[in-house]
Symmetry: D2
Subunit: 445 residues, 4 copies
């Protein structure tokens, strides 16, 4: 996961990067960073924490220049140790460089081994460090050619922003697994970012998506931007971006995320007509799809579960005797609405099954007569290797249990998943998608 | 506003108070406090900040005993100064006492003047201090009689929890302006709290509402609880609790807040049929009513505005040039959905008009063809004096402008308010309500 | 203990109060507060923490006006609870008032009982609250007369600053137990503070000490200040101020604290000549006296123990196996200097004996051949009741053991205390002192 | 500057490293870090801040294993950016490695250029990164041989601790510019650290100094430790360690720092007999030398200036009108002692002259008749390049002004420096020292 942004030729470059990262906070909450350039030197601030925690006016004041790249990092394990925040900054033969990356390399370990065999040192566990090493070791004269050489080595899903003293490069892998959009700021500067919701906030105009296999070059010495089609495109955007990862107000490859999710709900209603009194979403993840289900089925939509927005990071954990309370701290059922009702509850995905189980328990405790769980995505049977932080096979409940077994485990009255075919149709079947978690087709070789 | 809670006879009294205050955080975010008693002495922790910030395991460990009362304080001005947090604790003739109060006294200033004339000192601006003074100055022998004497002096809206070494008193004014519910914990203890959503979280069973004019006494020396009807009830619960203040999963006087809000939306749709493509709520305040409007009118409901949950307290303010951005940091319209559409946008109230104006601007900027604003409450023409923090006449836009003038100011294509009659009918016209903000009928004399 | 300050008629009143409290931080580290007045209203900031932690530019900006009083509070038990910080602020019959107090009332509990019997409430455990109550209950017309009436009731050691809207009153008890000095600021304003070291920092000129039994009134309506001798003076300044409490650069009643401490060391050397190689102080408390001992005896003075200044509040405690390390975290002996030597170690007082015992252990571990402990004050056999936070009889080692028993307990080769007579002579035997901890003569009746 | 520590074979390795770094906090306050190993993997915690701020029980719990190395970093510029904390951790061909370094390489930039030319990337500005690169690029099979190869390339002053999975290497350059001592813990483990004061705190027994040019290897597979004399020793320990950098209770190369400083003061008194009433130190830096001066000259020693220990990092800066106050916040003269006196004031060094000027001003303001400044080190005319953070030529006042000109600038009645010869004699003229700041003899070629 993660979010990246690049801002070029704007009088408020680091400020625009800051608001863009804020708009994309949902893509990564562990750490964040911005590296700017004023054409002479790069400045950087990066740290563990939310965008609003890491940056203040003093930090933005330090990030001078009309160019900036930024990154939000998704939460992973090992937080007590040194945090691997991005952008990664380095000095190399041509001077200073900073790189931010969204995605995952499939040959990262191999490249790392090769580089280490050649005497390289790695100070983090991030693929991004591979990329900088490859650029630094290239014998090409220009940064552009070094980057192209490096891209020839790496395989996987990647959107990259690479910043030199005077240039920003925005690159997307040939499959376009992760979203990446190009826009123009009101002051004439350019912006590239993982999602279009950043554009809406900073007042940028959407130009187009960065194309799969494309490299866009912003250069202080030139007007506008240069586009190079490095690789033949074979577009397969990740279906998960539509299912739950992107913000509903983003538009990816011309499709409104909100509209796609509604359509998934509609498809679910067509495939799984249920005799029920209410359709309710798991907030906020299931809202759009639940609306679609309700419209298609004619069953009334209700916000039957209220989400508590004051849940912070320093909460006092319930004692053992009150373990059940844990999900209720975040999600409160409206008992008076649910009592005696047959309910369809919609969520966007089901990974380990533990949350679903708890939600069904609180709904039943509220007096619901029947609880039918509808997941508006297919069963997740394979770990993603292209940038989504899915757990290993062992923890993926659908990789280990049949739908009926899962239903029994979560104690739902029924459990339905979307078929892969319906998923694809909901997004638009004129194109191909990355569906590895569902079909195990690891297409990047 | 504010929230209060009292817990009696529970092995985890302060912990139950903590979770209850957490569940009622929406009623007050400025300061919070808990005072407990173990039958020998009172212990207290109170401070500026959210419930999750003020309390930690160490603090709960300090709050020993099987009795506790707590309070959340609503944000007001002057935060740099000493914070007036509750419960107020004092030593007086009978020993230690702690009091927490939700509501507002209308003769508070008069009593304060009288007490000061008699030589009393006031260390805060809180009405609650009046109440303790009155209790301390009573010549009655027992706390109960002192409280009753004090209640004979004060006028206004109040729910009170008063804690002595061995007793908790829960009192509600004869109008029952603020909600106050009574429940039983799983371990046999009792709980009183401003809203029932606290019961749901801590696993308490709702018994009944505390009655207008009732005093409930929990006494270590006695089984169960004692109820005294101090004043003849004249119930007029505050309509604002239903309109926007209470949490939707709470039930007040037997009415589900969520259901009442839907009904208000339905009433709006009946009174103001609009030719539109979509109904959207201002999240989260207008969601329930918008659902009602959509169902009644048949116009599709959409979550056309996404709320950003990462907005914190330390946000870097947009520069002057980007002032418009401010509302967008919290609320993001889904452009693709709104473009070219005629929209009904629902909110629960309109106070100053500034937020409404900004929302209409971002909707129009999103390409909406028409924006019809429907407020599912009547025009607020008078300041509340019974515990809701409404601004003065000067700032209440509806006290100074006609509906048409307000519409022009916020630049909506149309603007509708609910009639008082419809409001009352939506809640249930078998009873009376506190409607002072709408009708100016200040019924407490 | 504690420190108080009053600033009158200065363009930077709260800033001067801030620096004064900073200079007197050694008199109280638990909590601090300032209350200012601009002639119309009082503003206040007070909180748990050090002066530099509680106040920032924003806080000082809030504390407007050309008058201010302030207070540092000494650390006591129960820190998790609500902190009793001063100045105490209240509204009473004549308007707003703020009071800060250094000292201790001996009839505080009696007055409190009386006031409570009359219906007063106490929100803290501070004597200061008594004083405000008495002022508020007086029937006199003017604040001055109300204060005088209140002072007629209280007994004990007190230095007070009392601030109304337009006036500051500085009052010292007739015994002058606590120090209190009067000075003039460079901008013409006046300052009163517990110690003269505050004057040196803020650039104030020392005028004279506030006289025992004197009330000084600063009034916006009048030039200069008015002095009223309320009580016949019977001066007995607390000997502990000279022994260890005041800062060495302060001058109290015309005597340099630094010089007095040296003289105590000289007296010790005269009374207890020891055959030793080195004289070393316990830093920083014993430095001045050790210099005096060395000069008088001719034995070389050495800084044989180094104090670590990085000891903070969040230190990781040594494990049980390393308990001995605890004193070493603060005090490091210079082994090479001490090895094989006969050492006189000087400290200013001995209360429980635990620290002395640990120090002697680390000196012996360093290879010292003999360790002779010289305490430059008499044996503490009685708790102080006039404002010094001495422990109860049970914990005072000299109240329970003979000098020889204490010596055996702390494992010193010899142990000497100053006689009361020498103590008095060292300060100046032309006057009387409060010596209650030594002679048990509780002279305030 | 900076401090390093290595702990091997101790059950509490990271805890011992923590206390050692705490004892050496004076050598670096900007950032600190520890990297431990349990024989299988390395764990690390490093961050901006003091030792007591960065580490807590949770952090120590994370740092598992019986081996650990640690580092304190001296304050430098650019604090807003990413902090360059040590130890540096990396993955390289043989696995994990961590390195901490105290000193300065003189060919660091050349090596960096060479490595970068070969395709290396640098993520910090620290010499330490050079060393890891050289180790990683070596083609030797074993870490030991790789380190030796790397040491063949670097030139400069260095003490290093290098940690692999199972070994710790402690290395000191052939000149022994920085101190480095070897000790044994009570549990049988070993410790190496920059200063012996760490041993005293953790209860380690001093074995000997690490020899100039020596590599000590601690290996889990072997008993005790192995010593290899890599380079022919040419010992020239930095004189500044004795003058002001080390803690007075440390012993360096068999010389007590405290005793050496006293001797410097004695030498000053012999070379510059002054007709004065008092000798006072600038606390705490001049205390030891001032004692020596006083003893040699017979002029009484006094603590004429009191140091304030509450100065924190968040202090409110005095306004322009009160600039003079700045030095007084830290240093308070005892006016009553100084008035009318002829004073010798001792400090350990004079770099820019600004502090000396301010101190002389406050002493004169206190009424001192004459102020004679004695600096117990020679004039600093050259920047150190071997690890002491001296400013550039332009800022070194003695590189630009004669002693008389400096005296006039700081407004002293006289100003004296120690001769280089006396300095050397004070430490012990049987050996050679690094004196580059005084004589400009940059002996490392």
């Amino acid at each position: 996961m993660c979010a990246i942004v690049g801002v070029f030729g704007s009088t408020e470059a680091s400020r625009v990067a800051y608001y863009s990262l804020f708009a994309m906070q949902h893509r990564g909450q562990e750490a964040t960073g911005i590296c700017s350039s004023d054409g002479k030197k790069l400045s950087k601030v990066k740290k563990k924490g939310l965008v609003t925690e890491v940056f203040d006016e003093e930090a933005l004041g330090h990030l001078v220049g009309d160019m900036a790249i930024g990154h939000n990092r998704y939460s992973t394990a090992g937080s007590k140790s040194v945090i691997d925040a991005q952008p990664i900054y380095a000095n190399y033969k041509l001077g200073e460089i900073a790189v931010a990356h969204n995605g995952n390399l499939i040959n990262g370990e191999n490249i790392k081994k090769m580089l280490i065999d050649e005497g390289a040192i790695f100070q983090s566990d991030m693929d991004t460090e591979n990329i900088i090493h490859l650029i630094a070791r290239s014998h090409k004269e220009h940064l552009k050619d070094r980057i192209i050489e490096a891209l020839g080595v790496i395989k996987g899903a990647y959107c990259l922003v690479i910043q030199g003293r005077n240039k920003i490069f925005a690159i997307r892998d040939r499959y376009g697994v992760r979203p990446f959009a190009l826009g123009q700021l009101e002051d004439g500067g350019y912006i590239v970012s993982s999602e279009t919701c950043a554009f809406d906030l900073v007042g940028a105009k959407f130009i187009r998506d960065v194309r799969p296999g494309e490299m866009i070059i912003f250069d202080k010495a030139k007007e506008g931007f240069e586009s190079i089609q490095l690789f033949e495109p074979d577009p397969r955007i990740c279906a998960f971006e539509y299912i739950y990862f992107a913000r509903p107000d983003s538009v990816i490859e011309g499709k409104s995320v909100y509209a796609v999710r509604q359509e998934m709900g509609r498809a679910m209603a067509r495939e799984n007509p249920i005799d029920a009194d209410l359709v309710i979403p798991v907030p906020d993840s299931g809202v759009s799809a639940a609306l679609g289900y309700a419209k298609q089925s004619g069953i009334p939509f209700e916000m039957g579960i209220v989400r508590n927005h004051y849940v912070g990071r320093t909460f006092i954990e319930p004692t053992q005797a009150r373990r059940d309370m844990k999900v209720k701290l975040k999600l409160s059922p409206i008992n008076s609405l649910l009592k005696g009702k047959k309910i369809v509850v919609i969520d966007d995905s089901l990974v380990r099954g533990t949350t679903a189980k708890r939600i069904i328990k609180i709904l039943k405790d509220s007096g619901a007569k029947e609880v039918h769980m509808c997941i508006t995505s297919p069963t997740i049977e394979h770990p993603c290797k292209y940038g989504i932080d899915t757990p290993s096979y062992k923890e993926l409940i659908s990789a280990n249990k049949s739908v009926e077994e899962v239903r029994a485990y979560i104690k739902a009255d029924s459990l339905s998943f979307l078929t892969i075919k319906s998923l694809v149709k909901s997004i638009g079947d004129e194109r191909k998608y990355s569906l590895v978690s569902f079909d195990g087709n690891y297409f990047i070789k």
